[in-house]
Amino acid sequence: MSDDRTQDCRLPEGGLIDRSRRIRFRFNGAWMDGHPGDTLASALLANGVHLVGRSMKYHRPRGIMAAGAEDPGGLVQRGLHDEPARTDPDWRATQTALVDGLEAYTVGAWPSLDRDAGAVLGLASRVMGAGFYYKIMHGSRWMWEHVHEPLIRKAAGFGVCPDQPDPDVYDHRHVHCEVLVVGGGPAGLAAAGAAARSGARVILAEQDERLGGSLLGRRRAIDGQGGVDWAAAMEARLRASPDVRLLPRTTVFGYHDNNYLVALERVTDHLGLGPAPPGRPRQRLWHIRAKRVVLATGAHERPLVFGDNDRPGIMLAGAAQTYLHRWAVLPGRDVVLFTTNDRAYEAALDLHAAGARIHAIVDSREAPGAALPAAARAAGIRVMTGYVVGGTSGVRHVTGASVMKLGADGRASPHALDTLPCDLLLVSGGLSPVVHLFSQSGGKLRYDDGRAAFVPDRSVQALANAGACNGTFDLAGCLAEGAAAGAEATRLAGSDPGAPRTAFSVDEPAAAAIKPLWRVRPALVQDHAWGQPFVDFQNDTTAHDIRQAVREGFESVEHVKRYTLTGFGTDQGKTANINAIGIQAEALGRPIPEVGTTTFRPPYTPVTFAAMAGRDRGERLDPARLTAIHDRHVALGAAFEDVGQWKRPWYYPRPGETMHQAVARECRAAREAVGVLDASTLGKIDIQGPDAAEFLNRVYTNAWSKLEVGRVRYGVMCREDGMVFDDGTTARIDDTRYLMTTTTGNAAAVLDHLEEYLQTEWPDLRVRLTSVTEQWATVSIAGPKAGSLMARLASGQDLSPAAFAFMSWRPATVAGLNARVFRISFTGELQYEINVPWHQGGALWDAVMRAGTGLGVTPYGTETMHVLRAEKGFIIVGQETDGTQTPIDLGMDWIVSKKKPDFIGKRSFTRSDTARADRRHLVGLLPKDKRQVFPEGSQIVETGATRGTKPVPMLGYVSSAYWSPALDSGFALALVAGGRGRFGDTVAVALPSGEQPAVICDPVMLDKEGARRDGHAA
């Protein structure tokens, strides 16, 4: 392409890039070149591109201001058109590794980034001060809903969401270590070095792809070795240490209780576009439990707040230095530096040495330090002390800086104005320690006047801070502090680090103290003449906004943050927050410590949703519990129902059958021949011990002392509030042993409930509980021909209803398998529940199906089971109950012992509301129009009630409703106020289409006398 950019701003040599290889990438459609080792930001700057994005509110042109995670402005969309499923919104150019074919776009600028129509909003900026939205657009709801809010929403957001599912894989790891070092700069490397080879397990995590931190962007020597080489040597030494795990490209983003830290490793994003190499996750989330933590997270340089301080080409001094040294990029040729501290002078000196013209160093202090200003002057650079930059010129790139004299009143005098041309304006407001993780850990901060920064104070976890994040900004101090912290952490974690080295020889110019300047204050009448003094460059918060918020009574630091949206951007205010606090303190006339900081909330930098999910995606989102017979159900074409985590066959449609037809067929089979149900999912609890009967007496509402061995009883259990919790049958296996069944969904909850009472309330009861849910597979056969089928399966054993009493169980050999057979019935039919060892469940099912040939044996699912039981008026816990029904409400007063002095929940029955006679009772409900099957959940009202005004009084609701082939009618179970006294009454089911009449009746609708359960109705 002819409009190719050619890395004009790349220096001919130097930098930590691989010049042997070129990387082609595209930015807003234009092809450019870079090298391996580049970030998107460094490559753009190498190609002279400063304008990268537009701000959120006013669509102001925004460039690259920093070189790392703190950059507020350079947001792009990665891979929008080439790889729609892998496009990533809101990517920070400074942290985007350059890869072949990378495509990056600016989103939200129309028609183009250069000529963005949205910039017209800049004209309205004078109106759109703090709290703009709250003060207008409240008059007309219609206008708000149809005009204002849609406009606001349309303008929102930076990037676009992919429109396809993410094909990539994400991994998790859990690790434990003795020492975790966060940050691979000089302090972190020194710390890890001190801890290495001590036998302690050490993890060093660094968000950058390269270890070295600030050493990569400065000219420094440590012990006579270049800083970059020193870092490389350290890395090599650590790599060779057996117990050290180096994690580059890994951001520790959360610090939780008990030294639990979470980190995101970017595994493949830097390898190229497209799918990750086979088997490799795109990202890996590390869960780290560390005995000790050393935080060596560095510091962020602060920008300065003055008029139009946001133009592309305005850059943090240290960032420019980093672009120069690490990437051999000269981000500008005509340079002005505006600083409040000595340290930044070095950037000007380095750029000068690299060939840039430094027009001036503008220092707000009257008395800077000695060494660096002298060096600057010696290099022929004009040093202006007591001056500030008050405003800038330029549109899409800075073209000049307006220098003003600071008066005795601290205000910049406009008459001393001097405009310096520049294409790079460096700014430095001092350093802010990166205290995010420390603060997340619960540590308290203190404001240090000397450093003009918040630094760690009291910590509450097993951690140490080292280096710049601790307010130690000089390299020798960083190294010494890091080494000491690493050694101390090792020792406290129980290993011997040996004597740590604490003295390092470093060549670093001395730097004098900073004098903070939170904003450039123009002379009073000129307050608004010099453009917008931005504080949060992403959200377009200005110093004016902050001061206005204070004037309006927002005095808490959190209020100002929220009212002005400072620090709410994707950078979470890394460069903005401290300046905002300084400006607020000034406006309030209070010292900074009284203002305090806002909370540093996790994550430190944004974390991919899918990385949080890890492998728990798709079918692994939650375990699907399968019975021993599952594959048979699949082969039979079953549709499945999720019951808790279980997959249960819902119905077994034959080809061409609707669900209704399939269920009707299954129901008929069970009522007329024999149906087969996989009942393995019911919870089963083995209860042993001499006090087992007493225990059952206490947890069930009915009496258990007299249940004989071999017999089975139905029981209901309540919670202490008297409401039904679960039901099921319990069989007496021998003198001191019972087998309890629970509902499928409640199995774990019931076992927990029982264990809790045993261990915490009644430890004197000699009772042992073991879950045997998966010890047994259960096949239930029901229907008039169940007896015949049972006879075929258990030949030579008389299991006929005559010989085998209802509600009893016995051991038997069924299809050659050792089984326990229970004669219980949830269908009203003659029914056997055959239990065999789980691993033989499949064999039993096969045998039942084979033996049933000719008997009309038909598998049925949960839907048919529900119809069959509902015809008999049997409840399902969780369907007829919702935690607000007592057994009495359900018409089960027969199961509530009057004799037992106590059981769980008994006392609650006599509370005034619980004892009311007009509570909702379980009843049957028959539609006047027999074809009608009411939707479950329908509400029941008095006839005609829905014609009245709302709210319409409701009598109750339909809990279950089905088509009954046996009744040849739709029918329902319902909970109706005072329902047991209203059998025969006609009420209305209030459907959206209108009322439908129905008659309240006994919930038992079929075979009230119970003949069928002994097989007599065939």
């Binding site: 001060g129 949703f609 209030a990």
Partner: protein, 417 residues
């Protein structure tokens, strides 16, 4: 109160916004008030506003131990809806929703109510039954609510994964078109400004340390970090700390405080136009006017006053989000936080008199606090002014735990928020 309007905005823009009046005063703490409200969040400020507006009670102090709206008001996921199951709940939340609909105008403060509609998804046959039951009850209670089948859900929210490949497929949903979101901070500020204008003293950085009672046991005053205040009526509206405050008057409550976490994504262009909630797989998500996806997590299991929860809760949350919205997988979580929620055994609030004369409690809202704010304020103000509950909050008494007349909204609140 200087009214906000396009004209006031234009006028102030001319003077570079230098002349905006304070939104509320910073008054000296008085020595006695007719009513002292503890808690300067949405509920406390709304109560003060309605005490002044509806009952003419203006000698009122609202005490806030930190900054206004700094508790759960500023920490929730801003969902507003009224589709609760039981008549009692529907009544109080629907009262609130009706007030929400006129709130910006009433307060002369744009609370940015955004009625984008709320889906409560069903993922099992049990969910379907419960959802239908709720939608039908809502309809008869005059709450706009309907039942959608899976195809209907897909029409309303096409980016939702409604395929059967989902581990727990979407089997339908309730749909309340009038539900939506509001700007949480603006609610606190709007009420504060309006209450202040009616004479209410709003005192920040003032923590209550004790409740004084007279020889008869009735409330006589409150002790604070800024001195003693005489009052015969103390109203607690300090979600999270209700138990701690009530204990100062020897009142024991059936309330437990738990962390509740939430998070936002980086801002993206509009992609989700509804509030989507799923109790079964613990998801609730909406997209804010700034473009962030606002996502709520499940309640942490343990008691806590720490305003932080456990990380694995968020991991589960994101796993569910990514399944329900597969296109969100590559989006990034930008900020997380937690509040402290008061939870009651029946997942319904307590808005009630107490055994201590002059002590009133508004708490236990669990995840329902924000959406109820205006309605809660109206009925609590009534309860305080008349020393008797409003018919709408009468069922939410402390007595119900003795009589058994619980209002069990677990079904509705399991769909947290």
């Amino acid at each position: 109160m200087a009214r906000y309007s396009v004209w006031s905005l234009a006028r102030n823009a001319l003077s570079y916004h230098r002349d905006w009046p304070r939104q509320w005063r910073s008054p000296e703490l008085g020595s006695a008030y007719d009513v002292v409200i503890v808690g300067g969040g949405g509920h406390g400020l709304a109560t003060a506003y309605y005490l002044a507006k509806e009952h003419g009670v203006t000698n009122v102090a609202v005490l806030e131990k930190g900054w206004l709206g700094g508790g759960n008001t500023g920490r929730n996921t801003t969902i507003v809806r009224s589709n609760y199951l039981w008549d009692e709940s529907a009544a109080i939340y629907e009262l609130a929703l009706k007030l929400w609909e006129g709130l910006s105008r009433d307060l002369n403060y744009n609370v940015m109510l955004s009625q984008r509609g709320v889906l409560n998804l069903a993922h099992s046959l049990g969910d379907v039954r419960a959802g239908r039951r709720r939608a039908e009850a809502n309809r008869l209670n005059g709450v706009d609510s309907e039942w959608l089948d899976t195809a209907g859900v897909a029409r309303v929210c096409p980016i939702l994964n409604t395929s059967t490949s989902l581990r727990y497929p979407v089997m339908g949903s309730t749909w309340q078109p009038r539900g939506g979101t509001a700007r949480h901070d603006a609610v606190a500020w709007g009420y504060a400004r309006a209450a202040d204008a009616r004479g209410v003293d709003i005192i920040q950085n003032c923590e209550v340390t004790g409740i004084r009672r007279d020889s008869g046991g009735a409330v006589a005053g409150v002790e604070t970090t800024r001195g003693l205040i005489g009052t015969k009526k103390v109203a607690l509206a300090a979600a999270g700390h209700t138990s701690v405050l009530a204990a100062m008057a020897d009142v024991r409550l059936p309330i437990q405080s738990h962390p509740l976490q939430a998070l936002v994504s980086e801002p993206i262009k509009p992609v989700l136009d509804q509030v989507v909630m799923s109790g079964a797989i613990h998801v609730y998500v909406s997209q804010s006017d700034k473009g962030e996806l606002v996502i709520g997590a499940g309640i942490d299991s343990y008691n806590s006053y720490a305003q932080r929860g456990s990380f694995h809760v968020l991991e589960h949350q994101m796993a569910s989000i990514v399944e329900l919205f597969p296109i969100f997988a590559r989006l990034r979580m930008m900020r997380t936080w937690a509040g402290i929620v008061d939870t009651c055994p029946d997942a319904s609030p307590i808005v009630s008199k107490t055994p201590v004369p002059g002590l009133y409690i508004n708490g236990g809202w669990g995840t329902g606090g924000f959406k109820s704010t205006p309605g809660s304020g109206v009925v609590f103000a009534h309860t305080i002014a008349k020393d008797a509950p409003h018919p709408i909050n009468a069922p939410f008494s402390l007595d119900r735990f003795t009589t058994g007349a619980l209002i069990d909204e677990h079904g509705a609140a399991a769909v947290a928020h």
